[in-house]
């Protein structure tokens, strides 16, 4: 199945800034554009300004400066009209845990002014989509984290939105629940829904996003497709070496000559190179013996490390 990305701009942000009353600058002048059918990601560590950006996109947080146009409308003046055409999956689910799964969908649909018959029909389809049909009459209280997140996504789709905003969609979920969620998001993407998501998981960004921006301290530090970013800011492969405590510092200096770039982390040393096996052979030739050695493809984690000198998840 091919997804077509049209040239129609759904979101245009320029010099977007968010400064809170406390004086904290959460978003410090960012520009980005989003086309219909795209899956667009904000990658960055906690506190990078991703959630603040999402709240501005959700039209529930006034801009401190800059401009933001969504669906051809200024967010500052047309909040309710824009919100009627987007779906929001917040980081905390904001589900009503005392109501049932179906009731949560019905109530939320009412907030969009949809008729009861329309909501009922959509609720059945969305329960199916979220694999929650069996749980339709269960109280949300009894649902697992993964189920709740799927319900939150189903709820956000009740108004058949043109853009779906997902803030950290899989944070806190176990691997199995994450994979099921990704699969569902793929389905949405295939159905032509424009996705905007934030994440601090590089694998999530790589799997789901056509294009992403890397954020750090309220700014965009890089932009492109996952492959472009890796190509530009990292090498093809990475050799990860672990050493016994204390030895790493002593060896790190000798490794520098063996790779294009060497990154020393608290628990391991990363050697950026085109061919990991060749680099490992060179390490052995130097009579350096690490505890473990691992060759892997470079990822967005490496891009982030290169750009900021820090890891994504502390």
């Amino acid at each position: 199945m091919t997804v077509t990305i049209s040239s129609e701009l759904l979101v245009q942000a320029s010099a977007l800034r968010k400064v809170y009353d406390s004086g904290f600058v959460a978003v410090d002048g960012i520009d980005f554009q989003l086309r219909r059918g795209e899956a667009f990601g904000f990658l960055g560590p906690n506190g990078a300004g991703k959630s603040s950006t999402m709240r501005m996109l959700g039209c529930v947080s006034p801009l401190s400066a800059g401009s933001l146009r969504m669906l051809g409308l200024e967010t500052a003046e047309h909040g309710p009209e824009i919100r009627a055409r987007i779906g929001v999956v917040p980081q905390d689910d904001t589900l009503d845990t005392e109501l049932t799964v179906r009731e949560n969908l019905l109530i939320y649909g009412r907030y969009f002014g949809l008729g009861r018959a329309v909501i009922r029909e959509r609720a059945e389809r969305l329960l199916e989509f979220a694999r929650l049909t069996d749980k339709a009459d269960a109280q949300v209280e009894a649902l697992s984290g993964g189920m709740r997140r799927r319900l939150t996504i189903a709820r956000a789709l009740v108004n058949e939105p043109e853009i779906l905003l997902l803030d950290e969609p899989t944070t806190g979920l176990d691997p199995q629940a994450r994979h099921l969620l990704w699969e569902r998001l793929y389905q949405l993407k295939a159905d032509g829904v424009t996705l905007v998501l934030t994440t601090h998981y590089m694998d999530e960004a790589e799997q789901l996003c056509d294009r992403l921006v890397v954020m750090d301290a309220g700014r965009i530090v890089a932009e492109g497709s996952p492959q472009d970013l890796i190509r530009t800011h990292a090498t093809r492969e990475v050799l990860e070496l672990r050493f016994p405590p204390g030895e790493q510092q002593l060896t790190a200096g000798r490794l520098a000559a063996l790779a294009e770039r060497v990154e020393v982390l608290p628990d391991r040393v990363l050697l950026y190179c085109e061919d990991g096996e060749t680099a490992l052979a060179a390490v052995h030739a130097e009579r350096i013996t690490p505890l473990t050695a691992l060759v892997r493809r470079a990822s967005l984690e490496d891009v982030f490390l290169t750009l900021t000198g820090r890891t994504l998840v502390d």
């Binding site: 947080s61 919100r83 689910d93 009503d96 845990t97 019905l106 939320y108 907030y111």
Partner: protein, 264 residues
């Protein structure tokens, strides 16, 4: 007739629907707090204590029986209490951990719609509790039925005079203990001193002056004047204006505090 579909499409009504939906699950429990408790109180004080008071005879009751004097006072006090219970805690919860305000704010709903819808529900609860209470006091003969009709809007107005400012405040509250604090140190003293149980003419002048500016005193006076048939346009008009001003001020303030909280 053209108005009805418009009303049904009003965003505030969607929030009201949400609360009604939750209420379907909880209404049985609330009947005890909102209806049974005031009625038990009415029986104990009005009938039990009332016999003692009536036997002693008192000029402060304006010639009425104690039950007839006490019942409208309790109606207003219960309206205050119900309005507080339905707006303080639930607003705090909605704005914090339950997250339902944030969920609604992500939709076309505006903060003002959310506030208005929640107040509509509080009003509904105050009104239905008051209705049950009024039916009983009319049935006991404490209040003639022709005096009872205006008691319902009076109780509703008293309730809204509390609900709106309380909601405006509760959305800003960060710790639930503050809500209990206000209940104990603001509401309960008002309950005791604003003339629910006795005429404030018995209070010392300075305290009477303080009490007469409380919204509960205004609500009690209004309900009592209507129930006893002593309502005069000027006095009762002042009570109505006072209470309406409180409700309006609360609504206007609440629009600001809700917007501030939800659009941080």
């Amino acid at each position: 007739m053209a108005l009805l579909p418009d009303l049904a499409r009003s965003p505030a009504l969607r929030e009201f629907t949400y609360w009604m939906h939750r209420y379907r699950r909880t209404w049985r429990g609330t009947v005890v707090v909102n209806v049974a408790n005031p009625l038990l109180f009415l029986a104990a004080m009005g009938v039990g204590l009332g016999r003692l008071v009536d036997d002693g005879g008192s000029d402060h009751l304006h010639g009425a029986t104690y039950l007839a004097f006490f019942a409208p006072g309790l109606l207003a006090a219960a309206a205050m209490q119900n309005a507080f219970l339905d707006s303080a805690g639930p607003v705090f919860q909605s704005a914090r951990q339950r997250g339902n305000y944030r969920a609604a704010a992500a939709t076309p709903m505006r903060p003002a719609d959310i506030l208005t819808g929640h107040l509509l529900f509080t009003g509904f609860r105050v009104l239905t509790s008051a209705l049950a209470f009024v039916v009983v006091i009319v049935a006991t003969g404490a209040v003639p039925w022709r005096h009872s009709l205006l008691l319902l809007p009076a109780a509703l107005l008293t309730g809204l005079a509390f609900a709106a400012p309380v909601a405006a405040w509760a959305v800003t509250v960060t710790r639930s203990t503050r809500i209990n604090g206000v209940f104990r140190f603001v509401l309960l003293p008002m309950y005791m001193f604003s003339g629910t149980f006795y005429s404030t003419t018995q209070l010392p002048d300075w305290l009477r002056a303080v009490v007469s500016v409380t919204p509960l005193y205004q609500g009690i006076q209004l309900c009592r004047e209507l129930a006893l048939g002593t309502a005069a346009p000027l006095d009762s008009g002042v009570h109505v204006l006072y209470l309406a001003a409180m409700a309006t001020a609360g609504l206007l303030l609440g629009r600001r505090t809700y917007t501030r909280h939800l659009y941080g």
